[in-house]
């Protein structure tokens, strides 16, 4: 097959630009050292490829992937190669023409999201649309089911008289509410629950349910994202247009970011994701919905594969009541900017100073 050469191509390092902030030392020196080491790794890889003597393009592509650098620091040429490699592998794997896009951020764009909490009817269509769009794992085991959006269903009328007793310890003869129901406040002896406690796996017959209010959640794309700060290898980073992304090929699976995220936005692939061929969405972005692998972390990217080419995220499109709004915060006439200017807006857990760009509002 033709792709035996891929590792070797990779080793013919193109002159790499220093794309991070200027380093204090002489940059040429740093670069040459980096090049040297990279070439070293690549020749190692070449040797390994020779040793295996394999004709299997798939295996070679995987080898090359093992040795590729961090996407953000790749040269344009390397980025193109990395994506081409993936396109080939995915197309073979899923039996259809898969594209892996790499459209970068546009100048003068800072993306923001606003959700009308009054309008949400809890139909969870956004959740399903998200899974279909973003190629999440959907196997039979709990560990194989990944959803990036949670629509929290919370009981309405929790302070009414007949619910006063809820939340007393079991020893006092009163049952806990079914599931992990809301336990807010109430009275001095209640194990007062977390404000957000609610259910997010529910299958209602009809929505909105009479006794429920809904609170959708996903990655907030924080301006000061704690997940980015803690990542030891800068796998996860903020793009110039404000989206927080993950390079799945660079993640070492240490899960520090998951501990750091105050919104529980991140999911870990405990096993190889289960993604049926027929259901796979072939229009992907390198930093977004391309199929993931075992042992890495993933989360919402506001459908980077869509928004970079001027489309709305799938959840925005699918929402039947128009509760979800998305746009450019730097454009004062965009829908989101107008909402921020005119409506009652709040951020979740604002006290943590992560400055989410996901806003909740009500009319």
């Amino acid at each position: 097959m033709t792709h035996n050469k891929i590792p070797a191509d990779h080793s013919t390092e193109l002159p790499s630009k220093c794309q991070v902030q200027p380093e204090p030392e002489d940059p040429s020196e740093v670069n040459s050292r980096r090049d040297f080491l990279k070439t070293g790794a690549a020749s190692l890889l070449g040797a390994a490829a020779l040793m295996t003597q394999s004709d299997d393009a798939q295996a070679n592509i995987e080898w090359a992937e093992h040795f590729q650098g961090n996407y953000r620091l790749m040269t344009d040429q390397e980025k193109v190669e990395a994506r081409a490699r993936l396109e080939k592998r995915y197309s073979e794997e899923y039996g259809k023409a898969v594209t892996v896009d790499g459209t970068p951020a546009k100048e003068g764009v800072l993306l923001g999201y606003a959700l009308n909490i009054r309008k949400c009817i809890g139909c969870r269509r956004c959740v399903k649309a998200c899974v279909a769009e973003n190629n999440q794992s959907r196997g039979p085991d709990a560990g194989q089911r990944i959803e990036w959006i949670q629509v929290m269903k919370m009981a309405r009328g929790e302070f009414t008289k007949d619910k006063m007793a809820d939340g007393y310890p079991e020893s006092q003869g009163i049952q806990y509410p079914e599931g992990l129901g809301i336990q807010v406040g109430g009275n001095a002896y209640s194990p007062a629950g977390v404000v957000l406690e609610g259910e997010y796996f529910y299958e209602p017959e009809a929505v909105p349910e009479k006794d429920a209010t809904y609170m959708p959640l996903a990655c907030m794309h924080c301006e000061k994202p704690p997940c980015v700060k803690v990542c030891p290898v800068r796998t996860t980073y903020r793009e110039p247009d404000g989206i927080v992304v993950i390079d799945y090929n660079w993640c070492i699976g240490c899960r520090m970011c998951m501990s750091a995220c105050p919104y529980w936005a991140r999911r870990f692939n405990v096993t190889t994701p289960v993604l049926p061929k027929a259901e796979m969405n072939p229009k992907t972005h390198y930093l977004g919905n391309r199929p993931r692998m075992r042992g890495v972390v993933e989360k919402c990217t506001w459908c980077i594969q869509r928004n970079r080419i001027g489309r709305y995220p799938a959840c925005v499109e699918v929402c039947p009541v128009g509760a979800r709004k998305f746009g450019n915060l730097l454009d004062p006439e965009s829908e989101v900017s107008l909402i921020l200017a005119r409506k009652n807006v709040f951020r979740l857990k604002a006290e943590l100073n992560t400055f989410p760009k996901f806003f909740y509002f009500f009319d």
């Binding site: 650098g69 977390v194 700060k229 030891p232 070492i252 998951m258 890495v296």
Partner: protein, 423 residues
């Protein structure tokens, strides 16, 4: 130079020689290590689904062991510090054993890091220049740095000392002492940074308090010496090396007060958190009483509290502290209690409830248990080897030009490291 060349073969030759008991012990540990390898294979083919972790509770037994073992590594300073700062004579004779323990513990930490990671084969991404090292932003990057330097410091100090003893030379104080002082401070740093690793996450209210580092250090200086005393007593029993009572007594005193203060901090936390009982106390509440009917960790918490209190009470009584039949019991209780308290008892409730309020439980799978036992097995394997070599040199059984005269060894070599005839 010739001395240096003959050091390695002499050292290795000594280590691999031993009686039936020695080989049986090593064989047993080797079998345990095989568990670990098999677990590692499973995790890196099937994925971490073979463990109990989920997206809700994504750190478990491995992370718990990791945190605990950093403490054991730091705990070795309870030997080095009195030896070099207070010139405690009995401690001075055995410092190098502490360094060997510290090295082992750091290696075990690394084993648990490997077990914990989702993609261990990508570890090279952390190597500066080759990959990216998010320093100084990422606490984990700090942790990796301080742990590796600590390993190196102990390696250099320990083996330099052993080599000098072996070759019968004199220690170059200008080189050695600065390293010793640095390693003392460094021992504090490794545990401080490990505490920062989890206490700098406001997303996890249970961990987010400034008491974490000092509490870590106190529990480390209790758990570390507990293990050291046990090892010392075993050494006294099974080798010709005699560790003086003085050293053991000082260690048990250190354990007593560090454990006492650690218990005090636990009490402070409980009072502060549960008096106000905000939702930030949910993690602790889960640990102590269970939350929403989920109570898996409750017996562990109370068990460990009782173990630690019993150990503390025993150690307070001088008659027990100096009774080497009862002292090991207190040490085992202390060690076990702290292992639970700062391992599972700290790591797991940090995730309960999740930041959005979901209450789920975690329990280690068979693979996780197997692999943890395996990692401990590898650790003890390394420890046995390192201690054996060190003891051989301290006793003068391994010395330059002495491979033939191996049997005549009841003379203390080089002054300080006194070797006593086995009783």
């Amino acid at each position: 130079m010739h001395k240096l060349i003959s050091f390695a073969p002499d050292y290795i030759r000594y280590i691999i020689k031993g009686g039936i008991k020695f080989y049986a012990w090593m064989g047993f540990l080797a079998i345990l290590s095989a568990f670990s390898l098999y677990g590692f294979y499973l995790q890196n083919t099937e994925g971490l689904i073979v463990t109990g972790i989920t997206s809700q509770i994504h750190d478990g037994l491995y992370f718990a062991n990791l945190v605990f073992l950093v403490g054991v590594a730091a705990g070795a300073v309870t030997i080095v510090f009195p030896a070099y700062i207070h010139h405690h004579k009995a401690m001075h004779e055995v410092t190098v054993l502490g360094e060997m323990l510290a090295m082992t513990a750091v290696i075990m930490v690394m084993l648990f890091v490997f077990s914990h990671m989702g993609r261990p084969e990508r570890l090279w991404h952390m190597i500066p220049y080759l990959g990216i090292y998010n320093f100084p932003n990422s606490m984990l990057a700090w942790d990796v740095l301080v742990l590796n330097v600590y390993l190196l410091l102990n390696l250099v100090c320990g083996f330099y000392f052993l080599y000098v003893k072996y070759s019968g030379g004199k220690i170059n104080k200008n080189f050695f002492m600065p390293l010793v002082y640095i390693s003392i401070v460094w021992a504090l740093s490794i545990h401080t940074v490990t505490a920062f690793l989890i206490s700098t996450l406001p997303a996890r209210p249970m961990w987010f308090h400034s008491m974490m580092p000092i509490r870590f250090i106190l529990t480390a200086f209790a758990a570390g010496p507990c293990l050291i005393i046990l090892v010392f007593l075993i050494i006294r029993k099974n080798t010709k090396m005699w560790i003086q009572d003085d050293a053991i007594n000082l260690l048990s005193l250190i354990i007593t007060w560090c454990l006492g203060m650690a218990l005090f901090l636990t009490m402070s936390e409980i009072v502060v958190e549960l008096y106000a009982r905000t939702e930030h106390a949910n993690g602790l509440y889960y640990l102590m009483f269970g939350l929403h009917g989920l109570t898996k960790l409750v017996p562990w918490f109370w068990g460990s509290l009782i173990a630690m209190l019993t150990a503390f009470a025993m150690l307070l009584i001088p008659g027990i502290r100096t009774n080497y039949k009862l002292l090991p019991i207190a040490c085992v209780l202390g060690f076990g209690g702290i292992w639970v308290e700062k391992g599972m008892g700290l790591v797991v409730p940090g995730f309960i409830p999740t930041p959005i309020g979901e209450v789920t439980e975690y329990y280690p799978s068979m693979v996780e248990v197997m692999m943890s036992i395996g990692n401990w097995g590898i650790g003890f394997l390394i420890l046995t080897v390192l201690l054996k070599g060190a003891i051989g040199i301290l006793l003068g059984e391994v010395k330059y030009g002495g491979s033939k005269a191996e049997k005549s060894n009841d003379v203390a070599s080089g002054g300080k490291a006194a070797a006593y005839e086995a009783r």
